[in-house]
């Protein structure tokens, strides 16, 4: 549990493994994802189908089981909580009732008050469009509500973070935002940058989760996905390269190593002299200022022609060609 303040802790649930369809992936992959999620979130929500695949590897004390009907809970005793829709509920103990807004209404929430059930509010992706501070106050009034913002408007991570900041303690997110919820990795990093101590181990688990996810599903993560995309630390524009070269903290919101990434330098149309110098240094190539200036010009020309940044191989190719402008005999390969 992450301490938000001295006396207030966040309880984070990940609901990736209860998204319909995940149970179709191989059991080993799901087991690895489950194990790694335990290192990131406080509770893991899984579906019955995923539970059947995971078998005995589940830790019930830290797992929420998602059920279509509350009566099914007798089949699977011992879980921390059972997540059920607001439908023909006859008992309320150990049940987390999921209210999906706008399908459910405030009336439903009021009906449940004082019955002993715990409440999750799901959806509300448009909260930031209105008076969200007031919205949070209403939610805080209900009691120990868990908020699981929907990502329909791309604001779920922001809503989840602001909810914790406004006084909420329970929040449900989902790794990579799968299922249309707040991306777990974005929420966690926001909490860290907000000043709370999130252990570095959690981010190591996220980096491993990325690999486990790709292996299990055969999908790739968009290269510029916040926090985990492979290319988020690729810098190209001259202004940023110059700043990074002087001190990475100038332009990096968090160190790449934290999420298992490396800083990379790209060259292209927006490169400046400094990028060329750093790239040459990376490959141990000596060049005088005239040769470097020529190389910069040809890099820009080539990048404009291709309509994109250059790969390292393409850069080295140009560097080789530039020899005719007089490379000092430095590296024999160039």
């Amino acid at each position: 549990m992450i301490a938000l303040e001295a006396d207030r802790r966040a309880e984070i649930t990940d609901r990736f493994l209860s998204v319909p369809g995940v149970e179709l992936h191989p059991a080993e992959g799901l087991a690895e994802i489950y194990r790694l999620l335990l290192g990131v979130a406080d509770y893991i929500e899984i579906s019955e189908a995923v539970l059947e695949k995971l078998g005995g590897t589940v830790n019930p004390a830290r797992t929420l089981l998602r059920l279509p009907y509350a009566e099914y809970m007798d089949r699977w005793p011992g879980f921390h909580l059972y997540v059920c829709p607001f439908f023909k509920l006859k008992r309320y103990e150990r049940i987390l009732v999921e209210m999906v807004f706008p399908a459910n209404s405030w009336n439903d929430v009021l009906l449940l008050r004082g019955k002993g059930a715990q409440i999750r509010i799901s959806g509300m992706g448009d909260l930031l469009l209105g008076d969200w501070r007031h919205g949070f106050d209403i939610l805080l009034d209900i009691g120990k509500v868990e908020l699981s913002p929907g990502n329909r408007h791309g604001c779920a991570a922001a809503i989840a973070f602001e909810w914790l900041k406004a006084g909420g303690t329970r929040v449900a997110a989902s790794f990579l935002g799968q299922g249309g919820f707040a991306p777990l990795e974005e929420l966690l990093m926001a909490i860290r940058l907000g000043g709370a101590a999130v252990p570095a181990a959690a981010f190591r688990c996220l980096a491993l989760l990325k690999l486990a996810y790709c292996r299990a599903t055969g999908r790739r993560i968009p290269s510029h996905k916040p926090i985990l995309g492979d290319e988020i630390f690729l810098v190209e524009s001259g202004v940023h390269v110059d700043g990074i070269g002087k001190n990475p903290a100038n332009y990096e919101p968090f160190p790449p190593e934290l999420v298992g990434l490396r800083r990379r330098l790209g060259v292209g149309k927006h490169s400046g002299g400094r990028a060329i110098a750093m790239k040459l240094e990376q490959y141990g190539i000596q060049a005088d200022s005239r040769a470097a200036a020529n190389l910069l010009a040809s890099v820009r020309r080539e990048s404009v022609r291709l309509g994109r940044g250059l790969s390292d191989a393409e850069f080295l190719g140009l560097a080789k060609k530039s020899r005719k402008w007089g490379w000092p005999a430095g590296d024999p390969d160039c």
Binding site: D126, R220, I227, N250, P253
Partner: protein
């Protein structure tokens, strides 16, 4: 960025010919030379990007606050005297000292600068922080959000609630690292609360056309994992 020279200037001049109702703005560092290059392109707006955090002023520029205050004013006046509409971008404003930034903004606007652009250059802000920061400016201010925490759209919305006069957005959210505020995502979301003046439905057509140009040399496989949010 006219200071890049050559092709860039030609491209900007060509933009001027086809721009229609759009205003063309050029980006400049706090440098007389950059602004002189911009004059060659006769843009509608001259934008000067100035780092305002202690971190960037000392570590990137190797200067101090007094230098920036003086030089920024000089460079802005150079463009203003030529009759240009000038905007100033406060780079890394999220880490800047408000006691330095706010008086600086005031002097610039009083000197004739059109508006200040508040840039969360590292993408480390959240909606409440953006709202509070922009509320402290009692002059025309815009927002430039980065998506490092996946909050560029949310932060831009919060800026509008705080009275921002402009929002920076890019096609497909393309930008450094995790990108900037995605134009279509922002317009589609903001549409129900604000009048953006942009027809959200036309943006998907624009994206289709632009994608064909931007990724013309990218293979289908690479394209698939480019920029599309996981669903």
């Amino acid at each position: 960025m006219p200071a890049i020279g050559g092709d860039e200037k030609d491209a900007i001049l060509r933009l001027q010919e086809i721009k229609g109702n759009v205003l063309v703005s050029t980006w400049n560092r706090v440098s007389r030379d950059d602004v002189l290059h911009s004059f060659d392109c006769r843009p509608d707006v001259i934008h000067i990007g100035a780092p305002v955090s202690g971190q960037l002023i000392s570590s990137k520029l190797g200067k101090d606050a007094a230098w920036l205050r003086r030089e920024l004013r000089n460079v802005a006046e150079l463009a203003l005297e030529r009759g240009y509409r000038v905007t100033v971008g406060f780079e890394d404003a999220s880490r800047a000292d408000p006691d330095f930034m706010l008086p600086l903004a005031r002097t610039l606007v009083e000197a004739g600068v059109d508006r200040i652009r508040f840039a969360d250059t590292l993408g480390i802000m959240t909606p409440s922080a953006v709202y509070d920061a922009l509320s402290r400016f009692d002059l025309p201010v815009g927002i430039h959000a980065h998506n490092d925490l996946g909050m560029a759209v949310a932060n831009s919305l919060a800026a509008c609630q705080a009275g921002a006069v402009s929002v920076d957005a890019t096609l497909f959210g393309i930008g450094e690292r995790a990108g900037n505020c995605n134009l279509r995502a922002f317009v589609e979301t903001a549409d129900s609360a604000f009048d953006t003046g942009i027809r959200a439905k036309r943006l998907s057509g624009l994206e289709r056309e632009a994608a064909a140009l931007i990724w013309k040399n990218v293979t289908e496989k690479e394209k698939k994992c480019e920029r599309s949010p996981p669903s």
